[in-house]
């Protein structure tokens, strides 16, 4: 369980996060979504007891992060963005060291078990300096999972993983997330959608939106975007598409595709497809395009400024 109330952190005169209030319950995977410098890492560092907030308070696993920092740290598994490892140690030595710092009984068994979980059992005796980025990421995750923490905090955990590893990683997080609280940060929207029960969008140190990924997308996507590509020049197709009722904002893309929007609930796609074929064009591609994170941010931050006025 994580409960943050009015967290604020200043670095000198710069305010990194302002008045963050949010909650993450047991059995919930909460995603922190935001661009670089939004305050995600700062918030995580405060919650893990690495540094105190300038003002505000937070409880993690039922303990206060300032007055009961050690108790919090006992119950939190944390994977910092930098994936801190000691290159001069073997995988096993490193995890054993971390297990000893956490006073785990039968530390060696725990290490073996966790290594199996992240599928690194075969590399236990290899030096960390010889591991690839993806493997290091897994060792970092193993370190965070080692003591079966009540709360798992992962800062940009999928950076540097290849697609197959990302899938594996998601499975691990989803597994862990069933019984414990997971807070993870990312700037990849699709990842947040697949992994998280709830998403907090943070920008310039403030929470600008909080909802389930589905609701968030429905709320944000006012209109659906579609692109279509035909064989040959699309210049002639544009006026035909633009004329169809329900099609909004039809325009030619620099790469020769035609892009248009339509309001949710009025699906004009079949009409457009039929019209293109009837007019004698060879349809090569026809697909929806999601809003990119940038667009969502733009939308949200615009809303934010409007509200302020």
């Amino acid at each position: 369980m994580i409960r943050a109330t009015g967290l604020t952190k200043d670095y000198g005169s710069r305010r990194a996060i302002e008045n963050l209030t949010f909650e993450a319950k047991q059995g919930e995977v909460v995603g922190f979504l935001g661009p670089n410098g939004a305050g995600k890492t700062t918030t995580m560092r405060i919650l893990t007891g690495y540094m105190p907030p300038t003002s505000g308070s937070a409880q993690v696993a039922g303990f206060d992060i300032i007055s009961e920092s050690i108790e919090v740290r006992r119950r939190v598994g944390y994977l910092p963005e930098t994936v801190p490892l000691y290159p001069d140690m073997t995988v096993f030595e490193y995890l054993k060291f971390m297990a000893d710092l956490r006073h785990l009984p039968d530390a060696e068994d725990m290490v073996d078990e966790t290594l199996e979980m992240v599928q690194m059992g075969k590399r236990a005796d290899g030096y960390i300096s010889n591991l690839s980025k993806g493997m290091r990421q897994r060792i970092g995750l193993a370190q965070a999972l080692l003591h079966k923490p009540e709360v798992l905090i992962l800062d940009e955990p999928t950076i540097g993983l290849d697609p197959a590893q990302v899938v594996e990683f998601r499975n691990i997080v989803r597994d862990v997330g069933k019984e414990r609280t997971v807070l993870l940060s990312t700037h990849i929207l699709s990842e947040a959608q697949q992994l998280c029960d709830r998403v907090l969008i943070i920008n310039k140190g403030r929470i600008v939106a909080e909802d389930t990924p589905e609701n968030l997308q429905a709320r944000l996507v006012g209109a659906e975007h579609v692109v279509l590509r035909i064989k040959g020049e699309a210049d002639d197709l544009l006026p035909i598409v633009a004329k169809i009722e329900g099609v909004q904002n039809a325009r030619l893309q620099p790469d020769g595709m035609v892009e248009f929007q339509f309001a949710p609930g009025t699906d004009v796609r079949p009409t457009v497809a039929r019209a293109a074929i009837t007019a004698g064009f060879d349809l090569l591609e026809f697909r929806p395009v999601g809003l990119s994170l940038e667009e969502i941010f733009l939308q949200l931050t615009q809303d934010d400024t409007r509200k302020e006025r």
Partner: protein, 248 residues
């Protein structure tokens, strides 16, 4: 205690995979060895000296000079490197206290240096065979206590500097500067100032003075208390530096 030991053990092992540690060990044994051979040669072959039996100071004396330069090289990375690699964030989010981290780090370096010092025990053994009726055991214990205390101080000052600077070289030179101050410069004012009260303060703070007393076998309680308090001060400053780092 357990956390201190965990940290110290990692640190100690790390030195055995670090080139700097081997260079420090080699430098120590080489310079002490060369000095030893030359002195023993002179004392046994030159008639002028032949009445003087070599004492343990010919082993411990040069060691102190080597350590003045070698210990900053061992401590410079202690915390600066953790900061650089981001592992400090990892350590400070595990349930250990800043003090335990600092003492553990220092202890790891200290145990390594004690290992190096232990390797020099071969010289007194040789010396014991060469002289008759052997060397003064009391003087030997006192001299080794002196060098171990001195190492503790040097390393604690190095640990403090490493926790204050993010840059290893800054940590190295800052440590060296402070060591030179306490080892050589601090007695300089006494050559100018006539006031005996002020001079006695400078003499008290002079590490070299303490060390020489112990080497000569004229050890007083303050010769032990002073280096121990300097060590404690160094470690206290380090903990404070790490703690305030959180608040920055």
């Amino acid at each position: 205690m357990r956390n201190i030991w965990t940290i110290a053990r990692r640190e100690y092992r790390h030195y055995f995979s670090s080139p700097i540690a081997y260079i420090v060990a080699l430098l120590t044994l080489l310079s002490v060895g060369v000095y030893f051979v030359v002195i023993v040669y002179y004392l046994t072959n030159q008639s002028y000296y032949s009445n003087t039996a070599p004492g343990i100071d010919i082993v411990i004396g040069p060691m102190a000079t080597v350590f003045l330069f070698a210990t900053p090289a061992l401590t410079m990375r202690l915390l600066a490197d953790e900061q650089r690699m981001g592992t400090l964030e990892l350590l400070l989010t595990t349930p250990i206290r800043e003090g335990e981290l600092i003492v553990g780090k220092w202890l790891g370096a200290f145990l390594f240096m004690v290992t190096v010092i232990a390797a020099t025990l071969v010289f007194p053994v040789v010396l014991n065979k060469l002289t008759s009726p052997g060397i003064d055991q009391g003087a030997m214990i006192s001299a080794y206590t002196a060098i171990i205390l001195l190492t503790a101080v040097f390393l604690a000052i190095g640990t403090a500097m490493s926790s204050l600077f993010n840059n290893q070289f800054a940590a190295f030179f800052a440590t060296l500067a402070i060591l030179i101050l306490f080892w050589w410069l601090i007695r300089m004012p006494t050559y100018i100032i006539q006031n005996t009260t002020i001079n006695s303060i400078f003499n008290y703070l002079d590490l070299n003075n303490r060390f020489t007393n112990m080497l000569a076998g004229t050890m007083s309680l303050s010769d032990i208390v002073y280096p121990l308090s300097l060590t404690a001060l160094g470690l206290f400053v380090s903990s404070l530096a790490v703690e305030t780092r959180r608040w920055r």
